[in-house]
């Protein structure tokens, strides 16, 4: 499991994270919700060592990954599907998936996972040789998720996978997130779509201006007045 303790991040003079602590226990889906600019993406980037942290400790399955290189963190099984898809536009779908498996050598299990991804997203299989840059937004999002799965995550962190998608596809994405979790992958999910996220989450955290202000089981947060007002628009 993933354990974050007292994470602090500064962007120049801006104190973006002010002591974030959270846990992702095995087998669960954990959501991180909060307003724009609250520090959700920053938290995930810091876990991946994409930005330096001022203070704090991150451990995964008992290993301290606080100041590891990004590639070693990926090797440990922590994978980020970043905000805004970030597929490689000049690479085909198949090549993007190959890049997801960049650190893996086990040809057979790569082939198995490729098949799994194509089963999850048949659309990707149809367009295997199409350049990712020419895919629609929804297709790119499927590819981004598929590519992350190709890294064989033990913990998959998803930053707003439903952003900009049509409602019907959003429903589909949340179904798939559940399916991925049931296949044994822990999930840390960031969502604007707080309702849908909390519904499938075992546990949720609410971030406000760089600190966790509230946490609890998904169902409980859904009925919490504060959450309902601020994030569910009720």
């Amino acid at each position: 499991m993933l354990k974050i303790e007292n994470l602090h991040i500064h962007y120049g003079g801006i104190h973006a994270l002010r002591g974030v602590s959270l846990d992702v226990p095995d087998g669960q889906i954990i959501s991180l919700i909060g307003a724009n600019g609250a520090g959700k993406s920053t938290t995930l980037k810091a876990i991946m060592s994409l930005i330096p942290m001022t203070d704090g400790r991150v451990s995964f399955d008992g290993t301290d990954i606080t100041r590891m290189q990004t590639r070693d963190i990926v090797r440990e099984g922590v994978v980020l599907c970043p905000e805004g898809r970030r597929v490689f536009p000049d690479l085909t779908i198949a090549e993007n998936l190959t890049m997801g498996a960049y650190l893996r050598k086990d040809k057979e299990s790569i082939a198995k996972d490729t098949k799994w991804v194509y089963d999850l997203f048949p659309r990707l299989l149809e367009r295997k040789w199409q350049l990712a840059g020419t895919l629609s937004g929804g297709e790119q999002q499927m590819l981004a998720v598929g590519r992350a799965l190709m890294s064989k995550p033990k913990l998959l962190m998803m930053d707003e996978p439903s952003l900009g998608l049509a409602p019907i596809i959003i429903k589909n994405i949340f179904e798939i997130i559940k399916e991925i979790n049931q296949s044994g992958v822990n999930i840390l999910l960031i969502e604007q779509n707080a309702k849908a996220a909390l519904e499938i989450s075992h546990y949720g955290y609410v971030v406000e201006t760089g600190t966790i202000v509230l946490c609890g089981p998904g169902k409980e947060l859904l009925t919490n007045d504060q959450v309902r007002k601020a994030y569910l628009g009720e």
Binding site: M48, L50, Q69, T70, R71, V74, R75, V79, L80, P82, R86, V87, F88, P89, D90, L91, E95, T98, M99, G100, Y102, L103, R147, S151
Partner: protein, 297 residues
């Protein structure tokens, strides 16, 4: 111009163009990954010329060992430059790293002047390369005929590497998005090093081929070829490897024919390259094979 002069010029132009193409590939690959115009590239090429002289004249190496020595020395120089002058500026604005590249260019030119003196040094013979060979009416040193062959073989190998290997895929991925590439576990610095290794090996090979039919090397020998090959890369569409080769050929052939057809204008042959550049930037700023310019986010 009669037929045999025409063919003679073709052979010379294609050969010169091939040598340019090899240098232009270095510009275009480094640009592709770092969005940096490596102004020191022409000077690295010049240093490779000196390395050849040292290997053959001063160290008495046999030519085939000398070639390997020159490639290794040039690669080490290029990678050292990247580590010392570009890598520390990875997070800085792009202009800083450009200025650093210009600085390195001056540094190499002036160090060469200081260390090897400003006097030109004669370029040695490498094995059979300078032996004159006749095909019909056309006669030229063997190197002139070999250069295009070498360039084409290298181009094919590079296209294979970039399009069909995992490393090449990682290069293409990183060239668009460093952060996403890192999330795949790709080591960006490793990819950048590979790019410099390739670019500098090609500059070394080009130096051997380019200087062989020419009498000497001096500290500013890299200046004009460097600028012209930068123009070649832009004409072909910077970032595009086959484009760099096409650009190299265009400049090499055009320059040769210009000098041959209008000997009185030969003093302007260098200026002509830049006229080509301006025309290109006016009418097709993305280059012949370049696609729309997508700024890296």
């Amino acid at each position: 111009m009669d037929a045999s002069t025409f063919f003679q010029n073709c052979v010379t132009g294609i050969s010169l163009g091939s040598a340019y193409a090899l240098i232009a590939i270095g510009y275009t690959m480094v640009y592709g990954i770092l969005r940096l115009i490596n102004f020191a590239h022409g000077d690295i090429f010049m240093m490779a010329g000196y390395f050849t002289i040292f290997a053959i004249v001063d160290f008495h190496m046999p030519w085939y060992i000398a070639i390997i020595f020159v490639i290794i020395a040039t690669v080490l120089l290029g990678v050292a430059i990247e580590r010392a002058a570009y890598k520390p500026l990875r997070e800085s604005p792009r202009m800083s790293i450009m200025i650093s590249a210009i600085g390195v260019s001056f540094l190499l030119e002036n160090s060469a002047t200081y260390l090897f003196s400003g006097l030109p040094r004669a370029f040695p013979e490498l094995g059979f390369l300078q032996k004159v060979y006749h095909i019909g009416d056309i006669s030229a040193p063997i190197v002139t005929f070999i250069t295009p062959v070498v360039t084409i073989v290298i181009l094919i190998a590079l296209i294979y590497l970039v399009n069909h290997t995992k490393t090449g895929m990682a290069m293409r991925a990183a060239s668009k998005d460093f952060e996403a590439a890192k999330l795949m576990g790709i080591e960006i610095n490793h990819i950048i090093t590979i790019t410099f290794v390739i670019g500098c090996s090609l500059a070394a090979i080009s130096a051997i081929l380019y200087f062989s039919p020419r009498p000497m090397v001096y500290p500013f020998s890299g200046l004009m070829p460097g600028l012209k090959c930068f123009v070649a890369a832009v004409i072909g569409g910077i970032g595009n490897i086959p484009g760099a080769v096409v650009g190299g050929f265009i400049i090499g052939i055009a320059e040769t024919f210009l000098v041959a057809s209008f000997p009185s204008l030969s003093g302007y042959s260098d200026a002509f390259t830049f006229v080509l550049l301006i025309i290109m930037l006016l009418f097709r700023p993305t280059g012949l094979l370049g696609e729309k310019i997508a700024e890296k986010v």
